[in-house]
């Protein structure tokens, strides 16, 4: 007899929506002059020609994967400088129907997208697809697509002519079980992208347990604690189009993993990419890359495994980004309703502190967060946080009238120094849309200098949120071209100095939930019109460019870098 999510408690569940901490006068004074008018987000998916509809396969059996949603991948598959879109799709497995297929949309550059799935050959094999990880694994200059799913994963190699070849078996990355978020990461810095794949529950579609009250309409999706976890997979790139699974040898195959979010970042600044795994209902994993092909699970010492009360949260999407401008990447992740979306500040020396409340973020939220992106939506030079929401239980209202299945998203504006304010209500009509948000990615689809948002919806149509007004501030965008390093410079560190401040970002389109964002890195410059750019490649080479003019897309070539 299954126990359900503790979050679905019938009585006495108190909603503590804490108000952000009052700003001190210094913060308030700093905040307002940088506000470049209110940025507004407008939903334009339909008018852009995106007709994709997600199949979640919702059934009376309430299979767990029906709640999962699917991810979205930003991929400029034809290298025309316009980010295209790939949507993974689910399937009606309960009725034995294959997936209607993934979808690839070509960005035409005029605000319109064209469905090119059939020509590209990326619809998939009918499995229940979940995550999308875009990366150039063979260094041919074209981005490839790895699609995770329930029952196996698929790798689509970009042929460079608008078509893809399914090379899963040859590459040896089919996995198995139920995979979630994945990320390409050159963990051994040999110039080739390796692949980390988070996996979720050990779930048997033939034996769905009954959860919830035994009354018509009350059956609900079960809690993950009823199921065992599954270990993550790490595939080492053999540089010949094949991979070797090294999860156990590398020390990342924890059998208790119930991974939903995966984020990559060099948390200790030693040049080796580390891996953070957000788990659902069990502690998270922070794997420190030892630089010898193996990882240490440093979660207990680092203090990112549990919430501020020492309890494991039901974590979903995650990001590793420097949010407070101290040059150390912090960790943020989303969690369940009546929990909170914690922000862990990197204190250095492999230590983190939960600063959620100090940062002005709520200590409890009614929403259930999935995808998250940390990006500078208003180009004021301070990275902000966007969270997409949507409950997992479609009939949650029967159990808790305070909660709803469809939910609106959240936008937290960074006021400087890692202090945030909820600006969802004032950021346009798109943030009032009630939907079932899951995957989330950002890209500058219209190349106007500000980052737009794409959100996948479980069982519905995706949202494409156009950013209007973010480009009132100055910006700079960079694309990395690796030579000794992997071709798209994944893992490179970019520092941009302008107006006396330095911002650090990694070329790292992963994180969030089941999704991949634009491989280009965007920096808001506020009022500044010139910037200094430094890049540190995974190969160890470095280069710096002074007095770079704002408001342009730059290609940084490793050929110009020196050791």
């Amino acid at each position: 007899m299954p126990l359900l999510r503790k979050a679905f408690l019938i009585f006495g569940a108190n909603l503590l929506l804490s108000a952000p901490l009052p700003l001190n006068s210094e913060q308030a004074a700093r905040a307002e002059p940088r506000a470049a008018g209110r940025v507004q987000f407008y939903e334009v998916a339909a008018e852009s020609g995106i007709t994709f509809r997600h199949e979640n396969g919702a059934s009376a059996e309430k299979h767990m994967f029906e709640t999962f949603g699917s991810g979205v991948g930003v991929i400029d598959f034809d290298n025309d400088g316009l980010p295209d879109l790939f949507f993974a799709n689910g399937a009606d497995l309960a009725h034995g129907k294959p997936s209607p297929g993934n979808a690839l949309y070509h960005n035409l550059g005029n605000g319109k997208f064209e469905d090119v799935t059939a020509k590209a050959g990326v619809a998939g094999n009918g499995m229940f697809a979940t995550g999308v990880a875009v990366g150039d694994y063979d260094n041919d200059g074209y981005l490839d697509i790895y699609v995770t799913g329930y029952g196996g994963n698929q790798l689509f190699r970009n042929n460079g002519d608008g078509t893809f070849s399914e090379v899963t078996a040859r590459a040896g990355v089919g996995g198995g079980g139920w995979s979630s978020s994945a990320a390409w990461v050159d963990y051994d810095r040999d110039g080739y992208l390796d692949l980390f794949v988070g996996r979720y529950l050990d779930y048997d579609v033939r034996k769905p347990p009954y959860c919830g009250y035994e009354k018509p309409g009350y059956r609900m999706y079960c809690e993950p604690q009823l199921f065992d976890g599954t270990p993550a997979l790490l595939y080492h790139n053999n540089r010949d189009g094949t991979f070797t699974e090294v999860s156990r040898k590398a020390g990342v195959a924890n059998p208790a993993g119930k991974s939903l979010g995966v984020a990559i970042g060099d948390i200790d600044g030693d040049g080796w990419p580390d891996i953070f795994v957000a788990n659902d209902g069990v502690r998270n994993f922070l794997y420190r890359n030892k630089g010898d092909g193996t990882f240490d699970d440093i979660t207990y010492g680092a203090g990112v495994g549990y919430d501020m009360n020492g309890k494991a949260l039901a974590d979903m999407g995650t990001e590793i980004v420097d949010l407070d401008g101290d040059g150390l990447p912090d960790v943020f992740f989303t969690a369940f309703s009546d929990q909170y979306n914690p922000l862990y500040r990197n204190l250095g020396k492999l230590l983190f502190e939960d600063v959620t409340v100090k940062a002005g973020l709520p200590s409890s939220v009614k929403t259930l967060g999935f995808g998250v992106k940390v990006f500078d939506f208003d180009n004021d030079g301070y990275p902000d946080i966007y969270v997409t929401n949507g409950h997992v239980i479609d009939n949650v209202k029967l159990y808790d009238p305070r909660l709803s299945y469809r939910q609106a998203d959240l936008l937290y504006r960074n006021l400087g120094g890692g202090h945030f304010r909820d600006v969802s209500a004032e950021s346009g009509p798109a943030l009032r849309i009630q939907h079932v948000g899951r995957g989330l990615a950002v890209a500058d689809f219209d190349n106007d200098g500000d980052l737009d948002i794409v959100v996948s919806d479980s069982g519905g149509s995706p949202l494409l949120l156009r950013n209007d007004g973010g480009n009132r501030n100055h910006w700079i965008a960079l694309r990395a071209r690796g030579r000794e390093s992997n071709r798209f410079g994944i893992g490179a560190k970019v520092r941009v100095t302008s107006g006396g401040r330095t911002q650090l970002r990694e070329v790292n389109p992963y994180g969030s939930y089941l999704s991949t964002s634009d491989v280009r890195v965007y920096f808001g410059l506020g009022n500044a019109t010139l910037a200094r750019i430094e890049i540190e490649w995974p190969s160890g080479k470095k280069q710096a460019i002074d007095s770079v003019r704002a408001d342009q897309n730059l290609l940084l070539d490793e050929a110009d870098a020196k050791r």
């Binding site: 126990l3 359900l4 009585f11 006495g12 604690q225 059998p255 209902g281 440093i298």
Partner: protein, 357 residues
């Protein structure tokens, strides 16, 4: 079937016994060279657990794991400390730690044992069986494993196997108190109530009695209409764990059976106090239906028919399959002079009773 034994995460192998076993295991590990500080910390962690200080065990274990994330005994102890907190919120964490302990050291028998115990509590009997059988392959004839395997087999519908395995466990270790508890449950399933009561009596007179054991015994005494004994066992269960709703429910049944309606209502209020949080499971669905039924009985006895009707209706809202409650409602509506509604409930009761035949 509602199974409080499973859902309440009662550690039927008593906490003290857990800790003693653990202590020996951990101490053995701690004697391995080069692990002095870690061994000391783990020894302290085990000591805390033995003394019922799970929070301190957790702190010590996390301290060890911060420096040595691959310490299998630390993962095991941490898992057991989570279990000792007796909170459904910690199940997943406990399981994760035990699994990690076994992944690092498959020879950690007690991690396997408590993982099996946890699976059993979750209603995943096949998985529990798999772990126990694996453990018995590693260490054949281990009484704790035999005994728990018996209970697993009972859960899987074979109380006869439980009798056999638990008797075998007792032959190997006559002090194996949990075996008596599992025997009692097996005898109860086999409708051998006298034998069940005898086994329960052994358990409750041991230092390892748990509220669930007292409550199970109370249920048997209620069935035999020995209300004084039943009340005594309910009160003992409540004294051990005031958050135990089943004991209050049984106490209310005892009072209702003796027409002490006010006392029954008082016990029912304590079963699920206003504001108490609980998961949305079938167990709690049935519990709420049971509580409403007993309130209906109490209000009927007090001739507060409108409230009794409300309570019975509430019970049916939680569980519409109860023919007996439809019958009671039919009777109350007749008394109230509403033959139409009475007929509806009678018809529904007929339908359900036919379906049950």
């Amino acid at each position: 079937m509602r199974s409080a034994e499973r859902l309440r995460y009662n550690l039927t192998v008593p906490r003290l016994q857990i800790a003693v076993v653990l202590l020996a295991s951990v101490m053995t590990w701690a004697q391995t060279p080069g692990n002095d500080l870690e061994g000391t910390q783990l020894g302290a962690a085990a000591e805390h657990l033995q003394q019922g200080r799970a929070e301190l065990t957790i702190r010590e274990c996390k301290g060890v794991l911060a420096t040595d994330p691959r310490s299998a005994p630390a993962h095991m102890l941490l898992g057991l400390a989570y279990l000792a907190q007796r909170s459904t919120a910690m199940i997943a964490d406990a399981k994760a730690e035990l699994q990690q302990a076994l992944d690092l050291d498959p020879e950690l028998l007690w991690a396997r044992f408590y993982l099996a115990r946890l699976y059993l509590d979750q209603g995943l009997s096949e998985k529990a069986q798999e772990q126990l059988e694996r453990g018995l392959k590693q260490s054949p004839g281990l009484p704790a494993f035999l005994s728990l395997l018996g209970e697993v087999r009972r859960e899987l519908g074979d109380p006869g196997a439980s009798l056999e395995l638990n008797h075998k466990a007792l032959e190997a270790d006559a002090t194996m108190i949990p075996a008596h508890y599992y025997l009692a449950l097996a005898y109860r399933d086999l409708k051998q109530e006298q034998a069940a009561m005898a086994e329960f009596e052994i358990v409750i007179h041991s230092p390892y009695a748990t509220p669930e054991m007292y409550n199970a015994l109370a249920s048997l005494y209620i069935k035999k209409q020995q209300f004084a004994e039943a009340e005594d066992f309910c009160r003992k269960a409540i004294a051990m764990d005031r958050s135990q709703p089943d004991a209050y429910l049984n106490l209310a049944r005892v009072y209702n059976a003796q027409h002490a309606s006010d006392k029954a209502l008082e016990a029912l209020r304590a079963a699920l106090p206003e504001g108490k949080e609980f998961p949305a499971t079938e167990y709690y669905q049935q519990l709420q239906a049971d509580l409403a039924v007993e309130r209906g009985v109490a209000y009927t006895a007090k001739k507060m028919y409108a409230r009794a009707i409300d309570e019975y209706a509430r019970a049916l809202d939680f569980d519409p399959r109860r023919a007996a409650i439809h019958r009671r409602l039919a009777q109350l509506y007749l008394q109230k002079g509403d033959p139409a509604r009475a007929a509806l409930h009678s018809k529904e009761a007929d339908k359900l009773e036919k379906g049950q035949m």
